[in-house]
C-alpha cells in the first residue's frame, strides 16, 4: 500500500458540521427553487404527474367517447385536454408527432382552433376530463394534459402536462408500450 493511500484524512469536527449545514442549506434552497418553478397547470402532487408507467392507480378504465366515434377499437387514441389559449399550437405540434401511431382527439375547455386532430369536444364543464379521471391542476382550472387509450378503448395512461407537445416523445414512448 502506498504511503499516500495509507494516509487517511479526518476533517475537523467543525468541518464535518459545516459540511452538513452546507448540504442541508443547498438542498433546501435548490428544492425550494425547483418547487417555485412549478406552475398553475402542474399537478399539486408532482408524484402523479408524468409518472412514466401504464395502469397507475385505478387504471385501466373504459374510455368515454370524445368525438367522431373516438376513442374506438382497433387503434390507440391520444386524448388531449387543453385550454383555449394554447390549443392551436399544442394540437398542431402533437398531431405532427403522434398522428402516424394513434388517433388524436382533443377536449377543450373553451372554443378554439385545433388543427390536425380527428375530433374536438368543447367541454367547459369539465365532465369529460372528470370521466377520464384527470386531476385538477394547482390553479384549480381545467386540466391540461393527455390520456392514452389502447386499441380496446381502455384508458391506460393519463397525466397533467402543461406542454404536451414539448413532451411528445413521452407520448410516443407510452404508445409503444401498449
Amino acid at each position: 500500500m502506498s504511503t499516500e493511500r495509507a494516509t487517511s484524512t479526518v476533517p475537523s469536527r467543525r468541518s464535518l458540521a459545516t459540511v452538513w449545514v452546507a448540504a442541508a442549506l443547498a438542498s433546501v434552497v435548490l428544492f425550494g427553487v425547483a418547487g417555485r418553478l412549478e406552475g398553475g397547470r402542474d399537478d399539486v402532487d408532482q408524484a402523479k404527474q408524468r409518472v412514466g408507467f401504464l395502469d397507475e392507480g385505478s387504471l385501466p378504465i373504459p374510455a368515454p367517447l370524445v368525438a367522431s366515434g373516438l376513442p374506438g377499437p382497433g387503434r390507440p387514441t391520444v386524448v388531449l385536454f387543453l385550454r383555449p389559449d394554447d390549443a392551436a399550437q399544442e394540437c398542431r405540434e402533437v398531431s405532427r408527432s403522434v398522428a402516424a401511431s394513434a388517433a388524436l382527439v382533443a377536449v377543450l375547455s373553451g372554443s378554439a382552433a385545433c388543427a390536425g386532430v380527428a375530433g374536438v369536444l368543447v367541454d367547459p364543464e369539465g365532465r369529460t376530463a372528470a370521466a377520464y379521471g384527470m386531476r385538477v391542476p394547482a390553479d384549480g382550472g381545467p386540466p391540461v394534459g393527455y390520456a392514452v387509450v389502447d386499441d380496446r378503448t381502455m384508458v391506460r395512461y393519463r397525466t397533467l402536462d402543461p406542454h404536451p407537445a414539448a413532451n411528445s416523445r413521452e407520448i410516443m414512448t407510452v404508445l409503444d408500450a401498449l
Binding site: 495509507a6 484524512t9 479526518v10 459540511v19 442541508a24 435548490l30 414512448t173 408500450a177
Partner: protein, 142 residues
Amino acid sequence: MTAAAVRVRGPWRVCGWCVFAILVELGLYASYRGHDARFHWFTHAFVGAAAALAVMTVVVLVGRRPVARPLLWPMLAHVFAMTPDLLFGAGYVHRWWMNLFLGHIRVHFVPGRNWTWLVVYLAALAAYLVAVDRVRPPSVPA
C-alpha cells in the same frame, strides 16, 4: 494505522473528482427536461445519496477510516437509482421491476414525498459524518 498517518484538513480543498461529481449531477439535472420532471431528479438524488451514505457509514465504521472520494458514492448511487429514467428517455416505459433500482417507482409515493427523502438524506449524511468523527484517533484534535 498510526495517529501520525492521520492529518486533519478542511472540506473545501478543490479536487478533480469533486468537480467531476458535481458536473455529472448538473448534467443529470439538465437531463430531466421540463420543469415538472425535476421533481424526479430530487427524489432519486436524495434516495441514491441516502443509500450511498448508509453504505459509506458501514464502510467507515468497519474500515476505521473515511471512505475515498466521498462525493462519488452518492453520485454513482444516484445514477443507479435513476437508471429507469435514462431508459425512459431512450423510449422504454417504466415497469414495476424497475423498483430494483432503489425503489425507483415506489419511492415517489411515500407520505411527504420529496420532503421525506430530504430528511432521510440529511439524517444519513449526519450519520456518515458522525461515523467519520468517531474513527478519529484520540491523538488527533477534533
